[in-house]
Amino acid sequence: MINVDVGQRRKFFAHGNVYLPHMVTIEKIVEETYDTKTFYFHFKDKRLREEFTFEPGQFALFSIFGMGEAPFAISSSPTRRDHLECSVRQVGKLTNAMHRLGVGAEMGFRGPYGNGFKLDLFQGKNVIFVAGGIGLSALRSLIWDVIDNREKYGKIDIIYGARSPADLCFKYDLDTWENNEALNMITTVDRGDENWTGRVGFVPQVLEQVAPEPNNAVAVVCGPPIMIRFTFPVLEKLGFSPAQMVTTLEKRMKCGIGKCGRCNIGNLYVCRDGPVFTYAQIKNFISGEY
């Protein structure tokens, strides 16, 4: 049986139609890297601005009319109600169009969709965040939530990597986290440059070096598919059980609600049953389906 609680979300449908977007207005744009921007936006509709809620890890479908629609993680913290954020890397037709938008421009927005992170899974435990590139945007809301409620968690490790120093996103967050003594923040790049003094190495390798303790721990992984595929074996080697490995996945999506068919991993749909999965849920479909 399908296990989605739609009832809660129905109030966010525009005119009762799940496919119809709401209008949001861009209020600020932050250039994260040469190809990634973070959009700060709010609903045009006042009622929604006040009522809209979501869970960390959930995503929404953003549209530019005439160009199409694509899913992005909501990367702001659910507790901050004044605006929403999403980070977009320029990779195709729609994201190119989004990057051409300026402050004050409108986008379509429908959501939130997906399951989000279930916080009770993490509480009282050590949490290891493993992120690559723009994959951090999907974990960011959770990380902030964890930091804001620091006492509820054990040891926190954040391992974040990008292809090069120029590809590191959310540098302002990275700095804050570096300086936070209650966290162990490790930043790495695949290839350094003349100014880079930090660590060099692929995320899975760095993870192996850091070797976090699997006891009473949960690892949360998000990044490009190739990174995810190489990270799971490392975690397994370190002694993590599949149920202790959590990931949030990205797939081509059109509907966001488990109908259009393309984002499945076996019988699970990333949009409907995910995007957050434990490795235990998806490991049977290991041969490249995620």
Partner: protein, 342 residues
């Protein structure tokens, strides 16, 4: 269950005329060079002579090839969206085959469970299915292997049984019963008619010779999911076109795209197919770029994944995918030859 009414085939036109009050009647048609269900023209009933099944399945009537989801326009105060005016007419599909009716019940689940799909469901609501039993199934039919049959009336509102010059009318649902009760001028069924109907049913059941063994199929597919050699071998001759999925009465995958000119346009949804590489293609990665993965997805979705969610195989055995395939790729051969673990 067995009906007590019948109608002479000559009078089908009259019957359809009566039913046209309150319904938009769709009948099998080959007007547009390919067989499909089209709006009845009010006169022609010669489909009774040629109709066996349509190439285009009646899913089109509820889930069309393309449809406008909403329109949008940019004005000074920003974008405005507008839903299309929903056509309020109730569809009556006359002559739907039992397999296609079952397929609609499968689409109902897919579009209703979890989030509801407003477009499909509004068309489907209050529609009426008048089934016509298959006295002459194709050699590509294998409905009997999937719990259906040429006279399976489970998913229709009214079932018609062709006993020669006349059609017996079986009312199945309340809606069907009401419609038949409201229809004047039907004749009473005799014992001889009933006996004849029984005979027709039996003989046509035996005409469905293509078979698959669905016993334990989910387990078998699960076991061979990783068997790349097998999937590569069976997928070699597939051309990755979308015929099988587009003509399939239970395939419901779709794509969403915008069509716009200057400051206005509309968002459309249209059929999509898991056979296309572009279907899952992302800018950096394509989880199903290889053909064997796509073929595996089509087979496994129908026979392994869909049943996990809905307890029913998402295939009704209509055989369109086999009949229309340009390379005669036959899903039954695949399913009957799944590797068993050595």
């Amino acid at each position: 269950m067995a009906g007590n009414k019948k109608i002479n085939k000559r009078d089908i036109g009259k019957l359809l005329n009566k039913w046209s009050q309150g319904f938009t009647v769709f009948v099998p048609s080959r007007e547009d060079k390919v067989t499909a269900f089209a709006k009845w023209d009010g006169v022609n009933t010669n489909f009774m002579e040629w109709y066996r099944n349509t190439v285009i399945s009646p899913k089109t009537n509820f889930f069309p090839l393309m449809e406008e989801m909403f329109s949008f326009r940019e004005e000074e105060d920003g974008y405005h969206t507008e839903l299309p005016s929903s056509d309020k007419h109730k569809q009556l599909i006359f002559g739907i085959r039992p397999c296609d009716a079952k397929a609609l019940s499968i689409l109902d689940m897919a579009f209703k469970e979890g989030y509801e799909d407003p477009y499909y469901l509004s068309r489907r609501k209050d529609s009426l299915l008048v089934g016509l039993g298959c006295t002459n199934p194709y050699d590509s039919c294998f409905c009997t292997s999937l719990g259906g049959g040429p006279f399976d009336s489970t998913y229709v509102d009214i079932m018609l049984i062709d006993i020669g010059d006349e059609l017996l009318i079986e009312e199945v649902t309340n809606a069907g019963r009401e419609l038949v009760a409201r229809t004047a001028g039907l004749e009473e069924v005799t014992e001889a008619d009933k006996a004849r109907a029984k005979e027709v049913k039996k003989s046509s059941y035996n005409k469905v010779t293509k078979k698959i063994n669905t016993e334990g199929i989910q387990k078998k597919l699960q076991a061979c999911f990783e068997d790349k050699d097998f999937w590569e071998k069976v997928s070699t001759k597939c051309l990755s076109c979308g015929i099988c999925t587009f003509l399939c009465p239970t395939c419901y995958c779709f794509d969403i795209n915008d069509d716009s000119f200057k400051k206005q346009g509309a968002r459309f949804r249209s059929w999509d197919s898991c056979a296309f590489p572009i279907y899952t293609r992302m800018p950096m990665e394509n989880p199903r770029s290889e053909k064997w993965r796509r073929v595996r997805q089509r087979v496994c979705h129908k026979y392994e994944f869909f049943p996990i969610d809905f307890d029913v195989i998402a295939c009704v055995g209509c055989g369109r995918c086999i009949r229309q395939c340009p390379v005669n790729w036959d899903i039954t051969e695949i399913l009957n030859n799944l590797p068993t673990k050595a």
